[in-house]
C-alpha cells in the first residue's frame, strides 16, 4: 500500500474511532450497544448503596398444574445453552417488564415451556419471573445479605405447541 494511502487510513481511523464512540454512547443510551463497534465493556455500574452493595438477581419460578410451590430456577440453568456471559443481556432485553412478555407469540411461549419443563422437571403451566434486589454488607468481617426487595414480578402463562 502506498505511503500516502496508509497515512490517509490512519487519519480516517483517528477521526472515526472517537466519532463511533460518540455514536455508541448515544445509540446505547436510547436503545442498546450497536454492533460492530470498537469498544470494550465499561462495567460502569458501581452496585453500591449506603454502606453496602445492591445486587440484582432474576429467578424463574416454574409452576405446574398440581403443586402449589414453584420450582425456582436460576436464569443460567433455565437457558443452559446460552453462554453465561450472554444470559444477563438476554434477561435485560426480554424479561424486564410484564408488558414485554404479554406480547410474546404462542411459538415463543411454547419455546419457554420447553425450557421450563426441562429446567424444573415438571409439566410447566406457568412461569413467574421474579426480579429481586439483594442488599449486602460486611459485618464483623463477614459478608451478609441484609435484605431483599422484590422489584418486579410477572407471570407468563405457558402453552404447548402453537
Amino acid at each position: 500500500m502506498k505511503v500516502k494511502t496508509v497515512r490517509t487510513v490512519f487519519i480516517a481511523v483517528l477521526i472515526y474511532l472517537p466519532l463511533q464512540y460518540g455514536i455508541v454512547g448515544i445509540v446505547g443510551f436510547y436503545h442498546s450497544e450497536p454492533w460492530p463497534a470498537f469498544v470494550f465493556p465499561g462495567f460502569k455500574s458501581v452496585h453500591v448503596y449506603d454502606n453496602g452493595f445492591e445486587i440484582q438477581q432474576t429467578y424463574f419460578d416454574v409452576y405446574d398444574e398440581v403443586a402449589e410451590e414453584p420450582v425456582r430456577v436460576l436464569p443460567q440453568d433455565f437457558f443452559p445453552e446460552l453462554p453465561l456471559s450472554q444470559v444477563p443481556g438476554f434477561l435485560r432485553m426480554h424479561f424486564q417488564s410484564a408488558e414485554e412478555v404479554q406480547e410474546l407469540s404462542p411459538g415463543a411461549k411454547s419455546w419457554l415451556k420447553h425450557h421450563a419443563d426441562e429446567a424444573a422437571g415438571v409439566d410447566a403451566s406457568k412461569l413467574v419471573v421474579v426480579i429481586e434486589m439483594n442488599y449486602y454488607s460486611h459485618e464483623d468481617d463477614v459478608l451478609r445479605r441484609d435484605s431483599t426487595v422484590v422489584k418486579e414480578r410477572f407471570t407468563i402463562v405457558l402453552t404447548g405447541r402453537p
Binding site: E33, W35, F38, V39, E81, H94, A108
Partner: protein
C-alpha cells in the same frame, strides 16, 4: 522533527517486523483462533440459536437489524465452514491476504448472529487481528504464497501500529465510562461491587473469588478502582510510544490474570491482540537456534523445518488442551474453561520471564 515527520515515524517505525517473525505470528494466530476463538460454541450452539423464536431475536443496532429473525442453521454452518476454510488458508499461507480478510469478516458476521440474543460480547479483536494483519503481508514466508512466482516478499509494520491504536482506544472506552459511573468516588468500591455481582448472580466462584468476597478493605478496593481506571485510560496514551505500549500489554496480562482469579473472567480474545506485540522475530530466531543445536542441521532448510516443528508442536498442545477443556473435568461449576485458565497462566509466565530477562540483561550491561 516536524509533526508531519513524527506522524510518519509513528506509523511506519513504531514497531519493527520481519518476514520470518510475521510468518510465525500468522501460524500461531491461525491455530489460536482455530482451536479457541471461533465465535459460538459449535454446532449445538448454532442449532440452538437457529431454533430461537423471532420474538427473542434482538440484534444490536446495526446491519443485522435488517433481518427479522435468526438465520437457519444452514447459514450458521455455511459461515462456520467459510471461516474454517479461511483459517486453514491463513495457516498454510494460501492467498494469505484474501484468506485473512475473509477470516476477519466471517468471524465478525458469526459474532453478530451470536450476539443477536441481546448481548454484545466485546470480542471484535478476534476479527480485527487477521483483518489488519492481512495488510502486513504476513504470508511473505513459510507459506504457499511464497513459492508462487512474482510473490511480493516485503512486509509492513504499520498494521501493528494500527492494531495498537485500536487496542489503546478500546481500552480507553473501558476506562472512560468508569469515571462517569463513579469508580473514582472514594465512597464507592466499584470493583468489589462487581465481584459480588459476578459471585452471587453469575455464580462465578472459582479460584480466589470466595476469599476475595469476604475481603473487606476500603483502601484496597478503592486503590483497585483507581488503578483500573488509570490503566485503561493510560493505554490510549501509551499508543504513541511502542515501548510504553508494550509495558501496558504486560500490565494487561497481569490485569486479566487477576480478573480471572477474582471475577472469573478471562477475556481470552484480547490475548490474540496482545500476542501481536511480542518480539516474534526473536522467538523465531531462538527456536531456529535450538532446532539447529538439537538436530545438528545448519542448512537453509532448517529454517522451514524449525518452524514446521514449532507449528506442529503448538498444534498438538492446542489440540490436547482443547480436548481436555471439552472434557469439563475441572472448573465444572464455572463458565471459565480449562484452556482459558492455562493460557492466562502461560501468558503470566511469559511476561514474568520477559521481565526477568530484561532485569538480568540490564544487570549484565552494568
Amino acid at each position: 522533527m516536524s509533526m508531519n515527520e513524527r506522524f510518519h515515524q509513528w506509523i511506519f517505525n513504531s514497531f519493527s517486523v520481519t518476514a520470518e517473525g510475521l510468518g510465525l505470528l500468522r501460524i500461531i494466530s491461525s491455530l489460536f483462533i482455530l482451536f479457541f476463538l471461533i465465535p459460538g460454541q459449535g454446532t449445538g450452539h448454532f442449532a440452538y440459536l437457529a431454533d430461537i423464536p423471532s420474538d427473542f431475536f434482538a440484534p444490536p443496532p446495526g446491519p443485522l437489524m435488517l433481518l427479522d429473525g435468526f438465520p437457519s442453521v444452514a447459514v450458521f454452518q455455511f459461515l462456520h465452514t467459510l471461516l474454517l476454510f479461511a483459517l486453514f488458508a491463513m495457516l498454510l499461507g494460501y492467498r494469505t491476504k484474501l484468506a485473512s480478510i475473509a477470516a476477519g469478516l466471517s468471524i465478525l458476521l458469526l459474532q453478530g448472529f451470536v450476539f443477536s440474543v441481546g448481548k454484545v460480547n466485546h470480542e471484535i479483536v478476534v476479527a480485527l487481528v487477521p483483518f489488519l494483519m492481512a495488510f502486513s503481508n504476513w504470508g511473505a514466508v513459510f507459506s504457499l504464497d511464497s513459492i508462487r512466482r512474482g510473490h511480493d516478499s516485503r512486509v509492513e509494520s504499520w498494521p501493528v501500529t494500527l492494531l495498537a491504536l485500536f487496542v489503546g482506544f478500546m481500552m480507553f472506552t473501558a476506562g472512560f465510562p468508569k469515571i462517569l459511573g463513579g469508580w473514582l468516588d472514594p465512597s464507592t468500591q466499584a470493583a468489589q461491587g462487581h465481584l459480588l455481582n459476578q459471585f452471587f448472580v453469575r455464580e462465578r466462584q472459582a479460584f480466589l473469588a470466595g476469599y476475595m468476597v469476604q475481603f473487606d478493605s476500603v483502601i484496597f478496593w478503592e486503590l483497585l478502582d483507581w488503578a483500573t481506571v488509570i490503566f485503561e485510560i493510560g493505554f490510549l496514551v501509551a499508543v504513541i510510544n511502542s515501548r510504553w505500549f508494550r509495558y501496558f500489554v504486560v500490565f494487561a496480562v497481569l490485569f486479566h490474570f487477576s480478573t480471572m482469579m477474582t471475577l472469573n473472567i478471562a477475556f481470552l480474545p484480547n490475548f490474540l491482540a496482545y500476542a501481536v506485540f511480542l518480539n516474534w522475530d526473536k522467538i523465531y530466531q531462538t527456536n531456529l537456534e535450538k532446532y539447529r543445536r538439537f538436530t545438528g542441521k545448519r542448512g537453509d532448510r532448517s529454517k522451514k523445518r524449525s518452524l514446521i516443528t514449532l507449528a506442529v508442536f503448538t498444534a498438538l498442545l492446542f489440540l490436547i488442551l482443547h480436548w481436555l477443556s471439552s472434557m469439563n473435568f475441572v472448573l465444572v461449576e464455572s463458565d471459565l474453561t480449562l484452556h482459558e485458565a492455562v493460557i492466562l497462566i502461560f501468558a503470566l509466565l511469559v511476561v514474568i520471564w520477559i521481565g526477568a530477562m530484561k532485569l538480568i540483561n540490564r544487570r549484565n550491561e552494568e
